[in-house]
């Protein structure tokens, strides 16, 4: 904290030192994020490796003392979007647009979403069921829930990671949670809670 921000011109030693001190402590969260996004261990491995190599390459644009975790998550998210779209003909974009259209009107989203799901039914769900419900959401909605509820980022940090305004973070979270409730309801229902 006492060091002045060194924006450029790290020596090689300093690069490794910053990398170790600021970036490596977040590797478990990064891997978890990558796994939740890709839902595949090999893809998660590749994504995290790519992200860390990029982070090292662009380390001069990281300012010490700023939020390294958010900075890394942003790189990972961008790498994911690029790779994901390359790999599978932009399904994330298509899915998102489809869902955005369906849920674009706030009213449409909300009247249909006084979801009949009880808190105690959620308490009885097992982790895999919650994870499967989460995984079944379109990636943009899944992402905000991971960032907020699993990783605990603030709305402001999420806005930076996702390059969207805070108002959009709020409304996307709201929609994501409504969708998630519908998915969770299927699991709760299949356990016999749904009369």
């Amino acid at each position: 904290m006492s060091e002045a921000p060194m924006k450029k011109g790290y020596t090689d030693d300093q690069k490794y030192e910053v990398f170790n001190r600021e970036f490596m402590p977040h590797i478990d969260s990064m891997y978890n994020f990558a796994f939740r996004l890709t839902t595949d261990e090999d893809d998660a491995n590749d994504l995290v490796q790519d992200t860390y190599l990029k982070a090292f390459r662009f380390i001069s644009s990281f300012e010490q003392g700023t939020n390294a975790k958010a900075w890394l998550f942003r790189i990972l998210k961008n790498s994911f979007i690029n790779d994901y779209r390359k790999k599978s003909k932009e399904p994330s974009k298509v899915d998102y647009q489809e869902v955005e259209t369906t849920y674009n009107s706030e009213d449409a989203a909300d009247t249909s979403h006084t979801v009949d799901l009880r808190a105690d039914a959620v308490q009885d769900l097992i982790g895999d069921e919650v994870a499967n419900a989460l995984n079944s959401l379109p990636v943009d909605f899944r992402t905000v829930i991971i960032l907020c509820d699993i990783e605990g980022f603030t709305y402001e940090e999420m806005a930076k990671i996702l390059d969207i305004p805070i108002g959009t973070v709020r409304s996307r979270l709201h929609r994501a949670r409504n969708l998630l409730k519908e998915k969770l309801k299927n699991y709760a229902g299949s356990m016999g809670y749904d009369a």
Binding site: Q49, V122, V130
Partner: protein, 96 residues
């Protein structure tokens, strides 16, 4: 039994506001509840919640449900730690 239920009814009638069983601004309430649970509510929202939280059944249920879902995501969804092999591979790529 009859007597006591009568007196409790009378006491209930004296209360200023009965419990609401329908929320006419549920969308707004739900957004506020989510902001609260996310630790992102402003002072006005917190105050509104404090004054009204026990007066509207749909909002009470929403609060409980949203909290349960948030807790379930945080505590039940398995966290995958980064494999050690991957850490080693990254370090090897960077020559350190």
């Amino acid at each position: 039994m009859n007597v006591s239920s009568k007196t409790s009814e009378a006491a209930g009638a004296k209360q200023e506001q009965p419990m609401k069983h329908h929320c006419e601004h549920h969308t707004e309430c739900m957004k506020m509840i989510q902001a609260l649970l996310d630790g992102e509510a402003n002072e006005e929202e917190k105050e509104h919640f404090r004054l009204n939280m026990d007066k509207c059944m749909p909002c009470i249920q929403t609060f409980q449900l949203e909290k349960c879902i948030k807790d379930a995501l945080h505590s039940k969804v398995e966290r995958r730690p980064c494999p050690e092999k991957l850490v080693a591979a990254i370090k090897a790529q960077l020559n350190y």
